[in-house]
Symmetry: C2
Subunit: 356 residues, 2 copies
DNA sequence: GTTAGCACTTGAACGAGTCGACTGCTAATC
DNA sequence: GATTAGCAGTCGACTCGTTCAAGTGCTAAC
């Protein structure tokens, strides 16, 4: 990205002030203390005096990029300041040390278990960015059945297992007319499989409407399969894995003032998941800074997240949440890398086109 | 339970002091403020003067049941004081209002998904006791396979789905010699099922050692099935669902002093799960109070938990964690009820004896 | 064994005073 | 016109002393 690219939405700033703003944001991200003109002059080779910096900072404050806790205090970036920083420096790659190795060690491909992948990914991400991390399992917008299986439980109950196109499993209990031996259940399942393999919910409904073949058990299994698929499309069935709230609460903003309780409540409600609903296309990392969020509860925080999965296939979300003073470059790099990594794994579970 | 039953491990107390101690503990649980002799005299009909209460409280302090934040402050129960209270009042049934209805509304039997049950149970429990709640899915000490299924993915990869005796599903990717059509995969699965239905890990190993029938695919599937089962027995595969950290952090002990960060870190590490390892037999509710815990990190908290599931079958754990000043009677009642409720659900998934 | 009375202890709340860090402004300088 | 030195002014953080109310511990009387 070109150094001189300015945030299009923001009022123009001369080059020195742009550079200064970037330094202020990055210094504040690092130290968590309001940055003063003197410190800036001392720590960075700016070749101007503190007084000049003060003038520039007054200008930045005027334009809304920074604010001051009180009259005689240093500058603290405001949301537009962070936004400027993200647009300007967000594409830089700053993975934490040994991040790739850590990811590879933590995630076991052969498990074939998107839930386990998501859990591990959240753990690695949380410890890399020192904030809360969230990963969801995957889900397709359009569910297709691949195969079903009916397993005898006891008396008049059996377990219907549905393997979906993206290799995810779902199960329901079905109630039978009479106690039926496993052989017969398997027969019905096989017959069903020949008819419904690869079908979507809509196609299954058509089949059902056509009053298809088969007795009571066949019909029940078909009905329940349809119900599972439509639940799958309607409900948010993706499992969420959270990790690293402790990391986040160790940030200085929670030591005094900021309520840890509010942060904890975010875990239990669905604000985060709702943010994720508006998911970017794969490979794009999205950043929502403080007040930019539509979710009331998330206003005090920033969220960095990305979609992973197969294009037009099963997708999940991975991201991190923390105070607006978070290390955006590191967070974006880590999220980008993990999303790409998980995408590869998930795509390996997708059926290849010729078997579709 | 007889009112005069004293905690066997504790030094003897006359009846009035026992009653006083119970009142002190229950008052402190309710108000979270050190209880003074005057308040006790005013609020409860004790028929003695504050001075007498002071003498009794001095005795209770001497014996370690209560302590004082500072010289001129009221009494606060210490761990043995809570223990006394739990032994004396723990069996009383004090379910929160409409608790049964809330449980029934929240938990959907037909989903047949122990993970969904555990998630809902944790949510209901957390909001009932206003503390952190934890529920795990179930797991058998000895894993048995019920049925397997092999589903084509693409090229040389297939998905091995294992339905276990307790209706739980596990999956792994298996690598094939050559791209094999679904029909053939199903055939192998059927052949396998006739041999291995109901077998334990040990029995599967014997079968494998006998150099059983079948080609490469058959052997691979058998090997991976064995691996899944032994992982199941070796690893802690139970999924944990946590809920209500926000409730817990709203308790007054976290408003000032007590670190919310420490509490949050408990979520990420395995202290709680390790406590659960020492699981009581079903129907027994276990209470671990503060310093009684073997887990360093859990010392500042109390945990109330119970095992649920089928006797000698699949078991999980449900419990709640909070500051030592928690409502033990309510917590124990709620946990007891939920454990019984979940046990019923899980037992419905167990195979009936004749099909074993 | 119980109670009244009283001296004593202690934390919490409040306000005044001090200190240090930093800014904003003005006037001089490049 | 931009930059800089110098300086008065502002504000939070910290400390110290005071006051106040709550509650105990002890003693002597009942």
């Amino acid at each position: 990205m070109n150094e001189s690219t300015a945030n299009p939405a923001a009022p123009a700033l001369n080059t020195r002030r742009q550079a200064l703003l970037e330094i202020i944001v990055s210094d504040y991200i690092e130290t968590a203390a309001p940055v003063s003109s003197q410190q800036l002059a001392r720590r960075y080779e700016l070749r101007v005096s503190p007084a000049t910096i003060r003038n520039d900072m007054a200008e930045l404050e005027e334009m809304g990029y920074i604010s001051r806790p009180h009259t005689s205090a240093g500058g603290v970036p405001s949301d537009p300041g962070y936004r400027f920083y993200v647009e300007r420096a967000g594409q830089r790659n700053r993975l934490p040390r040994h991040f790739q190795e850590r990811v590879r060690d933590a995630i076991d491909f052969d498990e074939a278990d998107p839930a386990a992948w998501a859990r591990s990914a959240a753990r690695v991400l949380a410890s890399a960015v020192h904030n809360l991390a969230i990963a969801t399992t995957v889900k397709r917008a359009i569910a297709r059945v691949k195969q079903v299986q009916i397993v005898h439980l006891h008396d008049r109950e059996a377990l219907l297992v549905v393997v979906m196109q993206d290799a995810q499993l779902r199960q329901r209990i079905i109630h039978l007319n009479s106690d039926t031996p496993q052989d017969e259940l398997t027969q019905v399942a096989n017959r069903l499989n020949q008819l419904i393999g690869g079908l979507s919910t809509a196609e299954l409904r058509t089949l059902w409407d056509s009053g298809a073949v088969g007795g009571h058990l066949f019909t029940t299994a078909l009905t329940e399969t349809i119900r599972i698929l439509s639940d799958e499309e309607r409900k948010e069935t993706r499992e969420r894995y959270l990790n690293g709230l402790g990391h986040m609460l160790s940030q200085p903003e929670f030591q005094s003032g900021r309520s840890a309780q509010d942060a904890a409540e975010v875990l239990d409600d669905d604000s985060i998941t709702r943010i994720f609903d508006d998911s970017p296309r794969p490979a794009e990392v999205r950043v929502v800074i403080g007040q930019e969020s539509h979710e009331e509860h998330l206003r005090p925080y920033s969220v960095v997240y990305a979609t992973y999965g197969a294009p037009d296939g099963a997708t999940g979300v991975i991201g991190t949440m923390g105070p607006t003073r978070m290390d955006y470059t590191r967070s974006m790099s880590s999220v980008r890398y993990l999303a790409a990594f998980l995408s590869e794994l998930v795509q390996a579970l997708e059926p290849s086109p010729q078997w579709q």
